[in-house]
């Protein structure tokens, strides 16, 4: 009954000697919600760029609204109703909401003079069409991520979009905002507008998708009704192998030994209150909570970036005051950051340089100069140990994929032989294959005696790696789960309940 909107047949694309897409075909019907899933390097970005006309396919045909295209241009693609919403939402942060909405329209008229009343009219009409309300005179950069995303969607609708492609749209949204977005997508569906939702968050894919397409190594490996798929199957097809979680060795934490890390009544105003817990040797302790629960601040505090206002920290039984990151590093605490691009890596520098940055002081000759040979050796050693895929350690780290980059960050900290390693969202933006390997790594670390504090909101990840999981809400620890006595469903419920106005440990609002 539904009409076919877009059909891509036998699309092939090469870059130099590498095949990015190999004979990929797909179709999208009017009003359909399609999810495109794949690891980094699977070809999903290339496919999107070909559909939107930014790249030209080497082979294959594209049919939009019945029109046949061998070579599609961006303008033609847009004219046929295909709109891509990139992760930066294509916004001008310094211009008003009205101007952001109306710009493309105004530009297409080709007029030299700007008519402000026209801009406001266009913006108001567009907002009405989509049924949202946003302040027109405010600078777009001051709005929340969710609102900025709405502007992007409004722009797309204004351009008479029939198919909206969203690239990783939920990265910076709270749970509430994600559901609001899903409502908008469903509303679009009612109006006959199709959505292609590119995401690696498989839980969300499960929730919103009607049909799921999986790409792997440039080929389409699955194209099926979403209701027939579960997360495990998706993962299997994404990586081509079973994610072996059974072999994850769970070492038992030594409950009789001195805790590696003990925290007593730690408090930081506007962050967290009265936090107390212990991390035992051979243990991976997970800390979870929604955005704003204070889990981030707690991690940063233990690492010395936001020194706590009160409370005590004991490392291997000894009380420590940690006033700075330098302090924390010296005392044996490492931190794998959530934002590895900004906080974890020196992108233009070589992989080896990135690897040795925490231990450079120990790689000196007797005269005090850098021992180049030893530095290269140590770097090579860690690159091998963590299986960083690169032809040379001298290449800049920015040439690596997300998963490999994260391994470099890990290598950097492991080289420092930390007693406690805090990992904050370590597998965000990492392909599924690398993700599993990192989980193995985490468990091995614990087995060898390094304590790991894993901050994450990825429930499966927590279940696969942690012995215990603490739940935070509004700055306090509200619950504790032991792996053997809980499951993903319970965790999920607890996490979501912590965000609602539900029952349970009802604490008063923080501010």
């Amino acid at each position: 009954m539904a009409q076919e909107l877009l059909r891509a047949e036998h699309i092939t694309k090469h870059f130099g000697g590498v095949t990015a897409l190999d004979d990929v075909s797909l179709s999208v019907d009017e009003g359909e919600i399609l999810c495109l899933v794949g690891e980094n390097g699977s070809g999903k970005s290339t496919l999107i760029k070909i559909i939107s006309g930014v790249y030209k396919a080497d082979q294959g045909d594209i049919y939009i609204n019945g029109n046949h295209y061998k070579q599609l241009t961006p303008i033609e693609s847009m004219r046929q109703g295909i709109q891509v919403i990139y992760q930066d939402f294509s916004l001008f942060p310094n211009l008003t909401v009205a101007e952001n909405i109306a710009t493309n329209e105004m530009l297409s008229t080709g007029r030299f003079v700007v008519d402000w009343s026209e801009i406001y009219r266009i913006a108001e009409d567009a907002l009405e069409r989509v049924g949202v309300s946003l302040p027109l005179d405010v600078e777009a950069g001051t709005l929340s991520t969710a609102d900025r995303q709405l502007i992007a969607i409004v722009k797309a609708i204004l351009a008479d979009a029939r198919l909206i492609i969203m690239d990783e749209p939920t990265t910076a949204l709270t749970q509430k905002e994600v559901h609001a977005l899903f409502d908008v997508i469903k509303d679009l569906k009612e109006r006959g507008i199709s959505t292609v939702f590119v995401s690696h968050k498989l839980q969300e894919v499960r929730e919103i998708s009607e049909r799921t397409i999986i790409l792997r190594n440039g080929k389409k490996v699955l194209d099926r009704d979403a209701s027939e798929l579960d997360v495990k199957t998706i993962e299997y097809h994404m990586t081509g192998r079973e994610i072996d979680t059974s072999s994850l060795e769970f070492s038992e934490p030594r409950t009789d030994a001195t805790p590696l890390l003990r925290v007593e009544n730690l408090t930081l105003g506007r962050g967290f209150y009265d936090i107390s817990f212990e991390l035992m040797p051979n243990e991976v302790l997970g800390i979870t909570g929604l955005l704003g629960s204070g889990r981030n601040e707690l991690a940063l505090s233990l690492f010395g970036h936001l020194p706590p206002e009160s409370g005590r920290i004991y490392l291997e039984g000894e009380e420590m005051t940690i006033r700075s990151i330098e302090d924390a590093t010296r005392k044996g605490i490492g931190y794998v950051p959530a934002d590895r691009i900004r906080e974890g890596l020196f992108l233009p520098h070589s992989i080896s340089n990135n690897t040795v940055v925490t231990i450079i002081n120990s790689l000196l000759t007797r005269l005090g100069f850098i021992d180049e040979e030893r530095k290269d050796e140590v770097a090579e050693d860690w690159i091998e140990r963590l299986d960083v895929k690169t032809p040379s350690g001298e290449l800049p780290v920015e040439s690596l994929s997300g998963g490999n980059q994260q391994r470099v960050v890990l290598a950097k900290w492991l080289a420092n032989h930390p007693k406690v390693l805090i990992m904050n969202g370590p597998t965000v933006g990492v392909d599924v294959g690398s993700k599993a390997e990192i989980h193995h790594l985490v468990r091995n670390l614990a087995k060898e005696g390094t304590g790991v504090l894993l901050i994450s909101d990825d429930i499966p990840e927590l279940m696969r790696t942690c012995n215990r999981i603490l739940l935070m809400r509004r700055g306090k620890i509200v619950d504790e789960f032991v792996r053997e006595r809980t499951d993903e469903e319970e965790l999920n419920r607890a996490l979501v309940a912590a965000g609602g106005n539900g029952s349970g440990t009802g604490t008063t609002t923080a501010g």
Binding site: E326, R330, E343, F346
Partner: protein, 345 residues
């Protein structure tokens, strides 16, 4: 991310290998230009390669050269130091005032040398103190380096102006001119200083843990912070080193001109050191002292060479600025063509 890598395939190639030796494409380019220019002027001007012309070049360029090194280290660490020239002059003014006021008439040589020693101490102290101030403002307080060093520029130059009431300090004992006019193994002393400063800076940047951390901080202060590097300490020490180099440049100037003025080079030097930095392919986190050295040599050769070639033509001393501008435009365009294949910062 790896799809981006597909589009711009970086291979481990000759350029990378040379880079690991500290010899980058930029170095070769500058070396090439220098060679061509020297050859050109040597052929067209028979007086170019004479010892007197070489030595006059060798006496003039070191002050700019050392200043360029002073600017270089701050750029690498992610900042800039607009106060370098003011620092040199401040050192010269204070040392100068001390000597011209305190040295008694008809003092013995030994005594004079003592005062000169004191003057040297003043220079070094000024270098360190100005560096500490800059380091505090940029590092600990966190003022954007352009604004901070603009402020200290006015501060330091202001002190020089106030103390001298705008008058140039003269009347130095002739021993002061030793550094600025003597040679060692036929090479002017100031040039030796420039060479040594280049070598020391090179070793510092490429072979010490400090230099390593400087380059990391310059590339990404956030990542450096989260890797346990104490940015404030690195920045502080960098500006102190920069101040010391600036002070040494001041020593050379005072020795060469036997005078100290609050505004020596104030309208042109700082901008020139930045021009040299751009010629040398400098940017945050990446830089080669060797390139600075070569860039300074190139500017000097162009200056002297064009002056000789245009001897008799009115305004011949000014052709150098025109040629320097042209050279930089050419280098910028060349770098654009080379940039395509490499990841740029």
């Amino acid at each position: 991310m790896s799809e981006k890598a597909l589009e711009s395939k970086p291979k481990a190639d000759l350029a990378d290998f040379l880079e690991s030796l500290g010899i980058s494409g930029q170095t070769l380019l500058l070396l090439g230009i220098l060679t061509v220019l020297i050859a050109f002027f040597a052929i067209t001007e028979d007086r170019f390669l004479t010892s007197s012309s070489l030595s006059s070049m060798g006496f003039q360029l070191p002050e700019l050269g050392v200043l360029s090194l002073a600017m270089m280290v701050t750029i690498i660490v992610g900042g800039v130091n607009l106060s370098i020239n003011a620092t040199s002059n401040l050192g010269a003014v204070l040392a100068g005032l001390m000597m011209t006021r305190l040295i008694p008439e008809g003092a013995a040589e030994g005594q004079i040398l003592l005062y000169i020693g004191l003057a040297l101490l003043i220079f070094l102290t000024i270098g360190v103190l100005t560096g500490i101030l800059n380091g505090l403002l940029v590092g600990h307080i966190g003022i954007p380096p352009i604004l901070a060093t603009l402020g200290t520029l006015s501060l330091f130059q202001g002190i020089s102006t106030g103390l001298t009431k705008g008058q140039t300090v003269t009347g130095f004992p002739e021993q002061v001119q030793f550094l600025g006019s003597e040679r060692f193994l036929f090479i002017p002393l100031p040039f030796w200083i420039f060479v040594i400063a280049t070598v020391v800076t090179y070793i510092l940047l490429n072979h010490t843990a400090f230099g390593f951390k400087m380059r990391m901080t310059g590339t990404s202060p956030a990542a450096a912070n989260f890797s346990g590097i104490n940015n404030n300490s690195i920045i502080m020490r960098t500006y102190v080193y920069s101040g010391l180099l600036a002070a040494i440049a001041g020593m050379i100037v005072m020795s060469r001109t036997a005078s100290a003025a609050y505004e020596y080079g104030s309208k042109t030097y700082v901008l020139l050191t930045i021009l040299i930095a751009v010629l040398a392919g400098l940017r945050q986190g990446f830089g080669n002292a060797l390139n600075i050295f070569l860039a300074v040599l190139i500017l000097q050769v162009l200056s002297t060479g064009s002056f000789m070639a245009l001897r008799g033509v009115r305004g011949s001393t000014f052709f150098k600025d025109f040629s320097w501008g042209l050279l930089l435009v050419a280098i910028l365009i060349i770098n654009y063509h080379v940039r395509g294949r490499r990841t740029h910062g």
